[in-house]
């Protein structure tokens, strides 16, 4: 099946009435979790995983994927109207979005960035559709050393990109790898660090770590704090002027390219792509002094980059089976539950799911664009629920979510343990993204490492004697050196973006 035929087939799947319904549910939940600070894409997807058991594979994945990319639309709304970014990648949007809102241009900021995001998303989906198939055919020729090198690149980047101490970043990474090693060994199956608990033989559940480290620990840390967003800018006019649209064309194009390129790299953080776009826009602008005071380019560019980033991050998942972030790891587990293995063979073995999900991204973005405006006022109302009450609700819903995946009280206890560990690590100023990505990729890293050594007759030079893996490892080393050498220069990820919400690592 060629890419074009595949995409057309995908639309025939995505436009089925039931799949449209799943996409709408996913988009609504996605926007909601994007609006609410403290609950991210991962928690939203985790909550709907029990529902996905009862759905056909394509419908289940379409629903979970639409939560994934719907969250970005939600995060934008609170950044612009309230100066409260719901997600880390929306921090940059607040820099100019909120000043625009204070100037009475909140509606214009919302509508223009929605239109730009939509354009960026559609272009990215088209690239995803036409690039995935050839890339997956190429990926068949990659062996364990190359997979290992790619995942190491992801880990190196996530350590290099967090703007905290390198020592703490590396400790966080080692800790994540250790947590991933709990359970059966991936090659021989012998038990490791299980303390005799049968429940731990299959490893620490993904959701316990992700929801514990981010969602619940955030709630526990802010226990007893009632502060919440107060100032909501009024929305007066929604339609952008011709001038606004003209000013948005360049940022949309640049945001699409930057976001897509960053999104291709496993381990990359979405906030980096939005910040890189912001900096680029400021550099190319004839009026850089307007940035930070309500420049529309400062809202449109990063928002478009964010959407392109999310869609591009499906490329490593679909072609290599490597999840680049915690949220995509949850999506990967949903694929597994449905009996579909993402990776080079997915396009031939499960074309309905593969092409259906890709086509549904276009459909989902249309839904998001349409739903965006009528729902803004509802999201603002939801945000008026006091933060502490919302926090208690988050814990209650998370507990049910984690329990319902395996019907296991033990998993709930693990959720509590990781929530406390997350609290401690955050209080001690350890960056959590390296730990989570290392945990997510830990199993795959170990099994590819060991398979590579078996392939190379136990010669560790197998990683550097093959040109592709050697090149990727060299890029990883150079990236760490270059990024860490920039430490004294303006930071890539704003401080407020780190450790916020659920979905920082990507």
């Amino acid at each position: 099946m060629s890419s074009l035929l595949g995409l057309l087939h995908g639309f025939s799947v995505a436009l089925l009435p039931e799949n449209l319904l799943f996409a709408i549910v996913g988009c609504l939940v996605g926007m909601l979790v994007g609006v609410l600070p403290g609950i991210g894409q991962s928690a939203g997807m985790a909550l709907l995983i029990p529902l996905s058991y009862f759905l056909p594979p394509a419908g289940a994945i379409i629903m979970l994927a639409s939560i994934f990319y719907g969250a970005a639309y939600g995060g934008r709304i609170t950044s612009i109207l309230m100066n409260v970014p719901g997600e880390s990648e929306s921090v940059v949007t607040a820099l100019d979005g909120y000043p625009m809102a204070r100037m009475g241009r909140a509606g214009v900021a919302l509508s223009t960035s929605a239109i730009a995001s939509f354009c960026g998303a559609v272009v990215s989906v088209v690239i995803l559709a036409f690039a995935s198939l050839p890339l997956s055919q190429l990926a068949v020729h990659l062996g364990p050393p190359e997979y290992f090198a790619l995942m190491m690149l992801g880990l190196c980047l996530v350590v290099a990109l967090v703007d905290k101490s390198l020592l703490k970043g590396l400790i966080s990474l080692a800790l994540g790898l250790f947590i991933a090693e709990i359970g059966s060994d991936p090659v021989q199956g012998s038990a490791r660090f299980t303390f005799g608990q049968i429940d731990l033989f299959s490893g620490v559940p993904l959701l316990a770590v992700i929801m514990g480290f981010f969602g619940i620990s955030d709630v526990l840390l802010s226990a007893g704090k009632r502060h919440g967003p107060q100032l909501v800018a009024r929305i007066e006019r929604l339609s952008p002027s011709k001038e606004d649209l003209r000013a948005s064309v360049g940022p949309t194009a640049r945001g699409t390219v930057i976001g897509f390129l960053f999104g291709l790299i496993p381990g990359m953080v979405a906030a980096v792509s939005t910040f890189a776009t912001y900096v680029t826009e400021k550099r190319v602008s004839k009026h850089p002094e307007q940035f930070g005071r309500g420049a529309i380019q400062g809202v449109v560019g990063p928002e478009t980059a964010n959407k392109s980033f999310e869609i591009a991050s499906f490329v490593p998942l679909f072609t290599l089976g490597i999840p680049g972030s915690a949220a995509l790891a949850i999506l990967l587990s949903a694929f597994t539950i449905q009996g579909v293995t993402p990776g080079p063979t997915m396009f031939t073995q499960a074309p309905d799911v593969a092409w259906g999900v890709i086509a549904s991204m276009v459909v989902g973005n249309v839904i998001l664009l349409v739903l965006n405006f009528p729902l803004v006022r509802i999201w603002v109302q939801i945000l008026k629920i006091p933060q502490d009450v919302l926090g208690v609700l988050v814990i209650g819903i998370s507990v049910v979510g984690i329990y319902s995946v395996n019907n296991s009280v033990f998993d709930v206890a693990l959720l509590g343990i990781f929530a406390l560990l997350g609290c401690l690590l955050k209080l001690l100023d350890f960056p959590l993204p390296p730990a989570v990505l290392a945990f997510v990729l830990g199993h795959q890293i170990e099994s590819t490492f060991r398979q590579a050594l078996i392939l190379g007759h136990n010669d560790p030079l197998v990683f550097v004697s093959r040109p592709i893996s050697a090149t990727i490892l060299a890029i990883a080393v150079v990236a760490v050196v270059l990024l860490k050498a920039r430490r004294r220069r303006p930071r890539l990820v704003p401080a407020a973006a780190e450790n916020r919400s659920v979905d920082v690592p990507r």
Binding site: N83, L220, A223, V389, G416, R450, I454, N458
Partner: protein, 199 residues
């Protein structure tokens, strides 16, 4: 507009506390690393096929041990510096001195050892574990309602009636949403006096 958010300079006492806490943390990480290394060796480092199940954990344990030791040394040096330094009178006299920027930056939500409400955090953590412990006895729905009620009263400090409404509404929503609609088997109570609740 600056890309970084300037934060108030920590007070002298806080700097000392954070240096001590950092030192202890690094020592604990080194100890964890040592334990992982020792346990990994027992798991087997080599097999006839190649490296054994203990080799990868050995690497991560060794990394934790090494990084922890580096941390201990660097924090010890920092702590010595902090102990030797004199309090900065300018900062001490203005404890709330914060850098005020032209535009109000987005609120930083990061909690630190000194800003976090330890009492409430401890209560919330204790409630989470109490909830897990009683879940088998009282069943999922009752323990969740009690947990939510206690969280609302003790952590969120809301009035009785608001707490009760939130607790009962959430438990009902979860029971009907997950238990009835999605068919998730929520654990029933094992307590004899609640046996009537089991089908």
């Amino acid at each position: 507009m600056t890309s970084s958010i300037e934060e108030p300079r920590p007070r002298f006492g806080e700097r000392r506390i954070s240096a001590v806490v950092d030192l202890v943390t690094m020592a604990l990480i080194a100890a964890l690393g040592l334990w992982v290394v020792v346990t990994s060796v027992g798991l087997g480092l080599q097999t006839s096929l190649g490296i054994g199940p203990g080799m990868f954990p050995l690497a991560s344990g060794a990394a934790l041990l090494l990084l922890g030791l580096i941390g201990v040394v660097s924090r010890a040096i920092r702590l010595r510096g902090a102990l030797a330094a004199q309090p900065d009178p300018a900062v001490e006299s203005e404890p709330d001195a914060a850098v005020i920027t032209e535009e109000e930056p987005p609120p930083s939500e990061a909690e630190t050892f000194t800003t976090v409400k330890w009492g409430r955090l401890a209560i919330a953590a204790a409630l989470v574990f109490a909830f897990v412990l009683v879940m088998g006895y009282l069943g999922f729905v009752i323990s969740l309602s009690l947990f939510m009620l206690a969280m609302m009263l003790l952590v969120a400090r809301r009035s009785w009636w608001v707490s009760l409404i939130v607790a009962v509404a959430t438990a009902a929503a979860i029971y009907f949403g997950f238990g009835v609609f999605l068919g998730v088997v929520l654990p029933g109570p094992t307590a004899p006096f609640l046996s009537w609740m089991n089908p």
